[in-house]
């Protein structure tokens, strides 16, 4: 059987489309137990074929007026299916992924997809869960009802995937059993209005809904309890931060020791002078200072992925909705804003799942205030250098953890106040419908978690190897050139020194010196380079000690506040431009955040100088 050139995966949100995609392509794709994780269309190549596989965002329906389409995800899915996306061929076949435990609610979409008249395989995923919860489906009846072949699959464990491989034309597929046949191709699928399409085969006993997951409902008694719910929410958020800093700090320290040791060992082989300075002081110091934070960033992503995969994230959105609503947002903004703790770029992309345009724009505009992981190197370094490691609440909460939470708090407060202001001014809000489905709790798939983390590590290391390496090189060149009598120039007489001197009048009111100013400039390329740039400029890996001598505590606090609030990320600005389709919003955002950051840093410096 010749393979298709392009196959699209479509289905409702949270049915395991991305898991199917990962299984078929071996490509890494983020998988979560929360509606709307696939925020844009991904593609890969099916292993053993030349077939392109498109992973479309989850949709409940293909119908609707574009002006009120529930979200842009739906637009993307529909346009991709119709072949209306530029530079992309129309899919030749469709894998319609449905959730075996929710089939009765997914028939409307199934019929709409099948009505596109493309060869369609109905992939009934999580069929192991259906059986485990005493449900039953006669696949032949479903095939007859939908007029399409059906494959029963458990993508999480890989069961039944060979049927899909056979459909898309993988050679040497292990599948022996034929697919359930396509019935009477001339018969149109029976049309229905509301999603009651399973009732007929349900009545005939050919589909039995699974028993509700009792323990899932029991967990909800606590997770959504008026008192215990918010308490649990707060504990989990607090636990996330404590875990990250308790577990990641020693790992990072060890990692740094190893990497620095390697630099010393390697440096011994290099000739002294120019080459040694470039490779060790310029490049390696820069790379190490950032790479050190890999364990911390991975841990943060692990925790977010665990919350997503288990299903708790949807409950958190419900708990958070009331507070978010007060500030002009919805609970749906919670996941994007929470993932902004890792990085604002995927967070801004994740806002595509927010149905209301105003909510979405507001979320995009405030997301960069959230403390992204690229800010952590500077935060951690300054806290370690300036804040004593004193217990606050017994052994559970230390002063340093409090300081870190304070910084997260500043970012969040700025985000919430800004969204409130936007809600009252530029983006007056319509009272859009808010609905969030609570998926059943389930154990995370360790394979998906592993893939997710590997992916993050790869992206991070790639960034270190490209942008950060290049920034380190550029900073080193600017900090050591022009040459004086064939010798590298001291920092004061270098290009960077001149830029720093020019910036000094603006920095003085904030209690910052020109080295910090230069480092802040390089942060525009990548925020995490600030520590490495400071290391290069102060010519020491002990940046904290250097800062204690140069700017003192008041200056350090002002630097933290500036860094927490300023819009210093070109990739975020570029993403906002792409997602809002205009330069207006990113420029507005940049100006607004810069003014706020400068003003607040100035206030912090004045107040702390006065107090200390």
């Amino acid at each position: 059987m010749p393979g298709f050139r392009t196959v699209a995966i479509i289905g409702p949100p949270n049915v395991g489309k991305s898991t199917v995609f990962n299984r078929l392509t071996g490509l890494r794709q983020k998988v979560g137990n929360y509606s709307g994780v696939t925020v844009e269309q991904h593609e890969g190549q099916i292993k053993g074929t030349r077939t392109r596989l498109l992973d479309l965002p989850g949709v409940w329906s293909l119908e609707g007026d574009e002006s009120d389409l529930t979200s842009e995800d739906q637009c993307i899915a529909v346009r991709a299916l119709r072949g209306e996306i530029e530079g992309q061929p129309r899919p030749e076949a469709v894998l319609l992924v449905l959730d075996a435990t929710q089939l009765h609610r997914q028939m409307t979409l199934a019929r709409q997809v099948i009505a596109h008249k493309l060869p369609t395989l109905v992939v009934v995923n999580m069929s192991d869960l259906l059986a485990a919860r005493e449900g039953y489906l006669d696949p032949l009846s479903l095939a007859q009802t939908l007029n399409s072949p059906v494959a029963m699959v458990s993508a999480g464990t890989g069961g039944g995937m060979d049927a899909i491989q056979r459909f898309v034309g993988v050679k040497n597929s292990a599948a022996k059993a034929p697919l359930l046949p396509v019935m009477q191709p001339h018969v149109e699928p029976r049309q229905i209005g509301c999603p009651r399409g399973m009732s007929e085969i349900e009545n005939e006993g050919l589909y039995r809904r699974p028993l509700p997951s009792e323990w899932s409902r029991r967990i909800d008694h606590v997770a959504l309890h008026p008192v215990f719910g918010p308490a649990l929410f707060f504990l989990i958020t607090l636990g996330v931060f404590q875990t990250i800093f308790r577990a990641a700090a020693p790992a990072s320290a060890l990692f740094q020791k190893l990497l620095t040791g390697f630099g010393v060992w390697f440096g011994a082989f290099l000739p002294n002078g120019f080459v040694h300075s470039l490779v060790i002081d310029g490049l390696w110091t820069g790379v190490v200072s950032v790479l050190t934070y890999l364990p911390l960033i991975l841990l943060l992503f692990l925790v977010i992925a665990l919350l997503e995969d288990s299903g708790y994230m949807a409950r958190a959105a419900v708990i958070a909705d009331r507070m978010m609503y007060r500030f002009g947002l919805s609970g749906r903004s919670f996941l994007p804003l929470l993932s902004a703790y890792a990085c604002a770029v995927p967070a801004i992309m994740a806002t595509r799942t927010i149905s209301s345009r105003r909510d979405r724009l507001t979320t995009i505009l405030v997301a960069p205030f959230m403390t992204c992981s690229a800010r952590l190197p500077l935060y951690t370094m300054i806290i370690a250098a300036f804040i004593p490691d004193r217990p606050v609440v017994g052994q559970f909460l230390g002063l340093r953890a409090c300081a870190m939470m304070g910084l997260y708090g500043i970012g969040m407060a700025a985000a919430l106040i800004t969204s409130r202001l936007l809600h009252l001014s530029l983006l007056r809000k319509d009272d859009s419908a808010f609905a969030i489905e609570l998926p059943e709790f389930r154990l995370p798939l360790w394979r998906s978690l592993g893939i997710n983390l590997l992916d993050r590590a790869r992206i991070f290391v790639k960034q270190v190897g490209t942008i950060i390496l290049a920034t380190s090189l550029a900073v080193w060149v600017l900090a050591n050139f022009p040459l004086h009598h064939g010798q590298l120039s001291p920092i004061g007489q270098s290009y960077l020194g001149s830029i720093g001197n020019a910036m000094e009048p603006a920095l003085r009111p904030l209690g910052l010196d020109r080295n910090v100013g230069v480092a802040l400039l390089t942060a525009f390329v990548a925020r995490e380079t600030v520590v490495s740039t400071l290391g290069t400029l102060y010519q020491t890996p002990q940046v904290g000690v250097a800062l204690r001598h140069s700017i003192g505590l008041a200056g350090a606090l002002s630097l933290l506040v500036f860094f927490a609030l300023a819009m210093q990320c070109t990739s975020t600005l570029a993403t906002v431009k792409r997602e809002t389709n205009s330069w207006r919003w990113p420029l507005f955002q940049f100006a607004y955040m810069s003014v706020i950051a400068y003003t607040m840093a100035w206030l912090t410096f004045r107040i702390s100088s006065w107090l200390l």
Partner: protein, 79 residues
Amino acid sequence: MSPQTIPLSDLAVGTHALISKMGDDPHLCYLRCMGFCPGAHVELIRRVSGGALSIYRVDDADVALRKATAAKISVRMEG
């Protein structure tokens, strides 16, 4: 005696009802796909955040709705 029709938001916790009418708001389209259709059975499971949100069970799935959203859906009491 004709069965009483009330907004979904007025349902008491633990009671069942039949959806009789959906409002005209285009955003409700999304809810229709989630199973909120005329004729569907709906049960109020619990209120969250001091009643600002409620969890409804429709078609065996739990969905959280804001009070204002639920007010746009009319239900007929069962039994």
